[in-house]
Symmetry: C2
Subunit: 328 residues, 2 copies
């Protein structure tokens, strides 16, 4: 294992310290916790997200005005504990309730639900919005149903702006479910990631092999084959995504997300191919974003996320709104 | 070679297309060129940078209000040609002259100087600011003197804000030289990058080996040794940097820059160690930034850059100013 770290069992603690010391103008750590919150809380419903570490900049990089109120960091690829989630709820709630945005993994769902119950015993209302945008496979390792991946960032962005504008918890939950149902993602992997405490790659691929549909913790995808040109990869992912939309999709937003070890050069080449394909199919792309947002440590690969924006010009405004975060 | 590309000889063209199609709200391509410029030019001295591709987001990601007016893209790790640089000058000059911000590599210096001469024949005044912040080695492959690396981004940022505020070309050149002389950078590499047209890694390191002082094109550094903990790496780089400042440095800005294949987790852990060391030495850190800014395709490694901000509170304001770019 070749990593710039100190103690493999202390990576989250040191990373968390590095984040809050580097961006103390935006965020702070809640004392004795794994919670990173905004320096300044706003008079709105609080939005909290989180999950295992190793997906940076998700979620701490999206804490700030117009996105999240706080992020809770679990160990690498491990759900945060209920007491840590409760701390995030307590430290950001200002009486209007807390929306918990949770990627669909069994451990996360369990712990966020427990934290929600604990909060309600303290008379803090919390609701859970589950994000399950990964259409690659159903019922994979760690997950019942579909997994939650990079589309989660778009949920943070759209709901973050609505929360800032004063929508209440019920409204945010309803809109949130609508946003989630408009999202589709699939990933491809060229090379696995190494969890520091494990010390070896989570899965193996031959030198000329890629895997379609791999999850952000290295969960198995749906097919391995020889590496193909970017155009071929883009075609497979775009076709799968478009086929999965039930209704006619005329306008979309597109997010190309690097998995951590894939350079921007490849991400932009892939996006170029995706835009060609959508153009050929007569689908208008009205929002685009390229970069490392929901990574899998140093995994090589990327994911494609679309959001159906047909008749959703208001969501587009939210996606384009200015925010004050480390990483949007 | 395992990359998400189509034709190795066409990566820059397709990447450039991907960038301008993804961020057409901010930038555009000058027709039939390798120049990416701001959509909207401002009434100010124009700032142009560029160099070989493969360092994304540098420099196209820093084009926009408050940073660069345009970026010129060469082939991978290859200087842009003088005619392309001239196009960038012509397409952004509005009569107040053009400052060319050039990383110190022999090929870049030669081509930017030729473009400057060509511009002057058209009565456009252009000046060259050379950035040579890498203190690892003198006179390496491709370079006479010190190399220009990630500190260049801070030059873009400080001068970009001054240009926006109305400083003239002479003033920008003078301040620019002052900024450059306050910068220090050194990198470390864990694993080399592969230029698509070459097809194999630019240099080899054993599985447990790292190299200090490697350049952003894989140029040799000053020592290879077994991988050390982050604290040890940080200590070596911080000591070298502080020793190279002649005068007493009391306040600095710190940039930890990922080389493309190194996850944010490691970058933040390393920054945490750097901040501990500077704190122990009584040096106040008043600006910090962490992420992939000046990469070397998918190289694993990072660089540390400091800027001496002692008695330079005005520069701090420029570093903190709001900009409208893809990647700052």
């Amino acid at each position: 294992m070749k990593k710039i770290i100190n103690d493999p069992s202390n990576v989250v603690e040191e990373m968390l310290s590095g984040i809050v010391r580097s961006y103390g103008n935006l965020v702070e750590r809640v004392d004795d916790s794994r919670v990173i919150k905004e320096n300044k809380l706003f008079n709105q419903v609080s939005l909290v997200s989180g999950g295992g570490s190793g997906h940076e900049p998700a979620h701490a990089g999206f804490v700030g005005d117009g996105m999240l109120s706080a992020a809770v960091l679990g160990d690498v690829f491990t759900s945060p504990t209920p007491d840590q989630i409760l701390t995030a709820i307590q430290s950001t709630n200002n009486g209007q309730g807390v929306l918990l945005i949770v990627k669909n993994y069994t451990g996360d769902i369990l712990n966020f639900e427990m934290a929600k119950d604990m909060a309600e015993m303290e008379d803090i209302r919390a609701e859970i919005l589950v994000v399950d945008d990964d259409i690659a496979v159903e019922n994979s390792l760690y997950t019942a149903g579909k997994r939650g991946v990079a589309g989660t960032i778009l949920v943070h962005k759209i709901l973050g702006n609505y929360a800032r504008q004063g929508k209440n918890l019920d409204q945010l939950l309803e809109i949130g479910n609508d946003v989630v149902s408009s999202l589709r993602s699939i990933g491809i992997a060229l090379k696995g990631a190494t969890v520091p405490e494990v010390g070896k790659e989570g899965f193996d691929l031959a030198d000329d092999e890629i895997e379609y549909g791999v999850g952000i913790h290295g969960e198995p995808g749906y097919r391995k084959e020889k590496l193909q040109p970017s155009k071929v990869l883009a075609s497979e992912l775009v076709d799968k995504i478009l086929a999965s939309y039930g209704s006619e999709t005329k306008e979309v937003g597109v997010l190309v997300n690097g998995m951590g070890g894939t350079p921007l050069m490849e991400q932009f080449i892939f996006m170029n191919d995706v835009l060609d394909l959508l153009d050929q199919k007569g689908i208008k792309v009205i929002f685009t974003k390229v970069g490392n947002f929901m990574t899998s440590i140093e995994m090589q690969g990327l994911s494609l996320t679309t959001i159906d924006l047909t008749d959703k010009s208001e969501w587009l405004g939210n996606l384009e709104s200015q925010v004050t975060t480390i990483s949007w």
